[in-house]
């Protein structure tokens, strides 16, 4: 399996990929201000041990703990936008794009990979929020379409991890049509009985919410994520009223029927894995731990 590479290297040595942290050694939680060593923070899957705030993380971080031993093959890594409209706002899109590539070490707002999860081959497409707000243009659409194609051809499950401000304005209607393109692909996948899990993370908004993020066989969200179509500011300005507490959070969406479940990051692999075991009627690769139950105990068992 020479085409597999260890992702660990990318995470621990590639500083371009790392989010800013105080001195790079310590992580200060933006919510509760508690400070953790970077090492512990990573071990805790970038979740604050004090207030459980789930920090925004990129595709490669998700790959590192969802794929068995962090081993995976990334595909289409070199794909980049072509700037079809020669778009310019305060700055040409092309220049902004290249600057972002340099700054982030990424080629667009999504990374796609195949590997084993609980011993089962899966395709995971995960978005990078720090690349122009995780916006969806032609590259995101095409890489998702190819991920779907790969799932279809190999008949293996697909997981898409959304984290996006929505469609990318600089590619205008090309961006818009990525919504239709990805949704159409997912319809084919569904018709073929191949499971698709949508994982919604903070934030998932706009055209991403209004396409592939909401179309999972199961929709799973991390706790406390902002999930919506229109951004909260737009809603607030339009209706001229304050928004109710907890509006557009994962918990709000669960209550309103749009999510199957909310899962802490540390439980994602086990719970998504269990769903895939059930959908594909496979024996669980590893026995589910006795300590945790898949469905949190509620008062009326």
């Amino acid at each position: 399996m020479g085409w597999f590479k260890r992702s660990k290297e990318g995470i621990t040595t590639d500083t371009k990929d790392k989010r800013e942290t105080p001195e790079g050694l310590w992580y200060k939680c933006p919510r509760c201000k508690v400070i953790t060593s970077m090492e512990d923070h990573e071990r805790n899957l970038w979740v604050c041990p004090n207030c459980e705030m789930h920090e925004k993380i990129n595709a490669h971080e998700y790959f590192s703990f969802l794929f068995d031993e962090g081993v995976y093959e990334e595909f289409d890594a070199g794909m980049k936008s072509k700037d079809p409209l020669k778009f310019t706002d305060t700055k040409p899109y092309a220049a902004r794009y290249e600057a972002t590539v340099k700054k982030t070490g990424l080629n667009d707002a999504i990374s796609t990979a195949e590997g084993l999860m609980n011993g089962r081959p899966v395709v995971i497409a995960a978005m990078n929020f720090n690349f122009i707000g995780g916006s969806m243009g032609s590259v995101v659409g095409e890489k998702i379409a190819r991920s779907i194609q790969r799932s279809l051809e190999k008949r293996i499950p697909l997981i898409i991890i959304s984290k996006s401000g929505g469609a990318r304005m600089m590619e205008a209607a090309f961006s818009l049509m990525q919504m239709a393109k990805t949704s159409a692909g997912l319809a084919v996948l569904s018709k073929n009985g191949i499971p698709y899990v949508s994982l919604l993370t903070d934030p998932t908004t706009g055209g991403v919410t209004a396409s592939f993020a909401m179309l999972g066989d199961i929709n799973v969200a991390e706790p406390g994520a902002l999930i919506g179509f229109a951004g909260p500011r737009v809603v607030k300005e339009t209706i001229g009223k304050d928004l109710p507490e907890g509006f557009q959070t994962s918990e709000f969406l669960l209550e309103h029927g749009f999510l199957d479940l909310i899962s802490d990051r540390k439980d994602l692999k086990e719970r998504i894995g269990f769903f895939l075991d059930c959908a594909l009627d496979r024996e669980a690769a590893k026995p589910v731990s006795r300590k945790r139950t898949l469905t949190p105990k509620i008062a009326d068992r």
């Binding site: 999510l259 009627d281 469905t295 008062a299």
Partner: protein, 317 residues
């Protein structure tokens, strides 16, 4: 343990037995003989009492506050190997209807059921087991998911009825139930349905169209509850016993009229007297029934399901 009036003889004996056992422990004296005696009497009284329950008494047992509800069955049958899923992808997550994937002896099954609350707070939370349209739509969404992945469906029915509310009507309670009957008739995977407690009308049938429909021994299933029937036809709430009798709502009557397929016996005195045993019996039925149904071709299975329901009804001409 709470008891209904008609269960008083049993209650007294249980109390005596408890006392005798406590005394034996305390004093170390040998009460063995009288304990055995009491146990025998209790068994005899129970057998007699529960073998000739009136329909109304069975209705009361079906509502016994200690009776295990759907989630308890699911937890036990799957041994905790179960992932609850939520939401109708429309308006709400209905707490009166639960569902999700579970493993029964290694086999994946979609489990769906009404859910009543176990105490005052939870009864409110579960809306007394009365789903809104979104509950039926959640159930249907999960059934379609099971169909997509070719896995069987097991439903647990225990409801005093679909919720009669303004919003429920606005959102199409009738449409939601109707859609389920339509879709369940032609769902291409096996469906087993268990009446665990109350099977009240369309609210029950909304997840009740299956290849095999079972009623537990102390349950009822009909077009209306005896109380409501009494109030409508007798114009008084006081004729619920007669109504229960007239409706032929017990498992025996339902089986005799070929409106269900089988009765699952409960532990003596009702499911709540030995929940673990009740769970085991229901699990046994599932484990035995599924392979037979799965061996059938899907077209044939659907055809037989439709035929079964098509034969229900009695006419003269």
């Amino acid at each position: 343990m709470e008891n209904h009036d008609f269960e008083l003889p049993v209650k007294e004996l249980v109390e005596q037995l408890d006392k005798a056992r406590a005394l034996q422990q305390e004093t170390g004296g040998d009460m063995g003989k009288s304990i055995k005696e009491l146990e025998r009497t209790l068994q005899k009284v129970r057998k007699e009492l529960y073998s000739k329950l009136s329909p109304w008494q069975r209705v009361q047992l079906s509502r016994h506050p200690q009776r295990p509800y759907s989630l308890a069955y699911i937890q036990a049958i799957t041994n905790g190997q179960w992932l609850e899923l939520h939401g109708d992808r429309g308006v709400k997550d209905d707490k009166a209807m639960i569902g999700g994937w579970g493993k029964i002896d290694g086999q994946s099954v979609m489990l769906i059921g009404h859910q009543k609350g176990i105490n005052t707070k939870m009864r409110q939370y579960r809306n007394f087991g009365m789903p809104n349209p979104e509950g039926y739509r959640k159930a249907l969404r999960l059934m379609k998911m099971a169909e997509r992945f070719n896995r069987p469906v097991v439903t647990f029915i225990d409801t005093p009825g679909a919720f009669p509310g303004i919003e429920a009507e606005e959102r199409g309670q009738g449409e939601a139930i109707a859609r389920n009957l339509f879709e369940m008739s032609i769902l291409r995977v096996p469906i087993l349905c268990f009446i665990l407690g109350e099977g009240a009308s369309g609210g029950a049938l909304g997840i009740g169209v299956g290849d095999k429909v079972y009623m537990l021994e102390n349950t009822w299933y009909s077009v209306i509850s005896p109380e409501s029937c009494s109030s409508i036809l007798w114009r008084s709430w006081n004729y619920k016993e007669q109504a229960a009798e007239a409706l032929k709502l017990t498992p025996q009557d339902m089986l005799k009229n070929k409106l269900i397929d089988e009765i699952v016996e409960e532990p003596l005195g009702g499911a709540h007297t030995d929940p673990e045993e009740s769970f085991r019996r229901v699990k046994d039925v599932i484990v035995k029934a599924l392979p037979k149904l799965q061996a059938l071709d899907p077209d044939r299975r659907v055809e037989e399901r439709i035929k079964k329901f098509a034969q229900m009804g009695v006419v003269a001409e």
